[in-house]
């Protein structure tokens, strides 16, 4: 059972490496397999002048807390995690979130309405159907490169 599961993940990873835009149940594992990234996706951008937004879920399957401290992407001159907060007057404010602690067994979701990966200074447009690599930086110096499929501008989630 586990073997089949592992195999499925492997084939998914291979598919992602090959650049196929599949997002739904995609999982990407760190080397020590304690960090799992699921369902990454980004919205297509209008050209390169606007910041892009990407979303994903990080699960900590290890026994120690981990901190997600930043992002790096070739496609972006400045990639960072931002939180959208809405204050009591209904005004939405974006604020950088640079130290996200995920407890053992816990998970952290970047999703519309909450946190997002903000990709400033795009070096090339995010084109629907393509993918790009994004590296997640953790406090234990783990760097996990994942492949992010680009969905339409109007996508609502990893399924489109």
């Amino acid at each position: 059972m586990f073997k089949t599961f592992a195999k499925a993940i492997q084939s998914l990873s291979v598919a992602l490496l090959m650049g196929l835009p599949m997002a739904s149940s995609a999982q990407q594992l760190s080397e020590n397999a304690s960090i799992v990234v699921e369902s990454p996706w980004a919205r297509a951008s209008l050209g390169m002048s606007r910041p892009g937004g990407a979303y994903l879920t990080v699960r900590n399957e290890g026994s120690e807390p981990i901190s997600l401290i930043g992002l790096r992407a070739e496609i972006s001159g400045m990639a960072s995690i931002h939180e959208t907060r809405t204050n009591s007057d209904g005004v939405s404010i974006m604020a950088p979130a640079d130290n996200i602690v995920i407890p053992p067994g816990g998970m952290f979701a970047l999703e519309p309405g909450g946190y997002h990966a903000m990709l400033m200074q795009l070096q090339s447009p995010l084109v629907e159907g393509e993918t790009f690599p994004l590296t997640l930086l953790f406090s234990d110096r783990t760097e996990l490169e994942i492949t992010v499929p680009v969905l339409g501008i109007g996508a609502r989630g990893p399924e489109g």
Partner: protein, 207 residues
């Protein structure tokens, strides 16, 4: 006959009760304790903007049909595309009735959001969604009438972002402000609110 009279009496009582509740909430003792936070009715607004096709638009463009109006800007990576996608989903669920619903995205960043930009941006979402822009003082005027706020936040390297009221404003066909739909409010709450605002019109048309 008696039955008809009874139903009429109940109906009249219901109408008076509804009117009373409306008065209580809007002007009466039940009014919002922070005055000025509630949007004006469209009939009390004055503004002149340009839609995605270059046509002049104003409050009169909206009055006559129920309206969904929200503020944003196209350089926004998260809130605005999320809101536009949410609204596209609500319109899909409402189906053909949504054709009678004005759905307007108004930019709070007119320096960057030209008519052409708005046209391209809204084209990626539900075809019913319009994109309006205009002169900064006109954007300020409409935001003020809605009691919406926005401000420019300078970032690094000369880039900037906008903080802005993220909810969706709902007006009935007479232009009366009905309610807001909060940012990213679940569809099962949002769609009934819209349907209610649309119903107001039918009731009024029949009475």
């Amino acid at each position: 006959m008696m039955r008809v009279a009874k139903i009429a009496a109940i109906g009249a009582t219901a109408v008076f009760a509804a009117l009373f509740v409306g008065w209580w909430q809007v002007d009466g003792p039940g009014a919002d304790s922070a005055p000025g936070k509630r949007s004006l009715p469209l009939t009390a607004m004055e503004f002149s903007l340009t839609d995605q096709d270059g046509r002049d638009v104003g409050p009169e463009t909206l009055i006559g049909e129920p309206s969904l109006v929200f503020f944003g800007f196209t350089y926004c990576p998260d809130v605005c595309p999320t809101t536009l996608s949410d609204i596209s989903g609500w319109l899909d669920e409402i189906g053909p009735d949504a054709e009678d619903l004005n759905t307007v995205f108004i930019t709070v960043d007119p320096d960057r959001d030209t008519v052409e930009t708005m046209a391209e941006y809204v084209s990626y979402f539900h075809p019913q969604i319009q994109g309006w822009t205009g002169l900064p003082d006109q954007i300020a005027a409409i935001a003020d009438s809605f009691r919406a706020t926005y401000e420019k936040v300078e970032g690094e390297n000369g880039e900037y972002t906008m903080n802005h009221t993220a909810g969706v404003f709902l007006f009935d066909a007479t232009g009366r402000f009905v309610t807001t739909i909060d940012y990213h409010e679940p569809r099962e709450f949002a769609v009934p609110k819209i349907r209610r605002a649309m119903q107001n019109r039918t009731e009024r048309a029949e009475s």
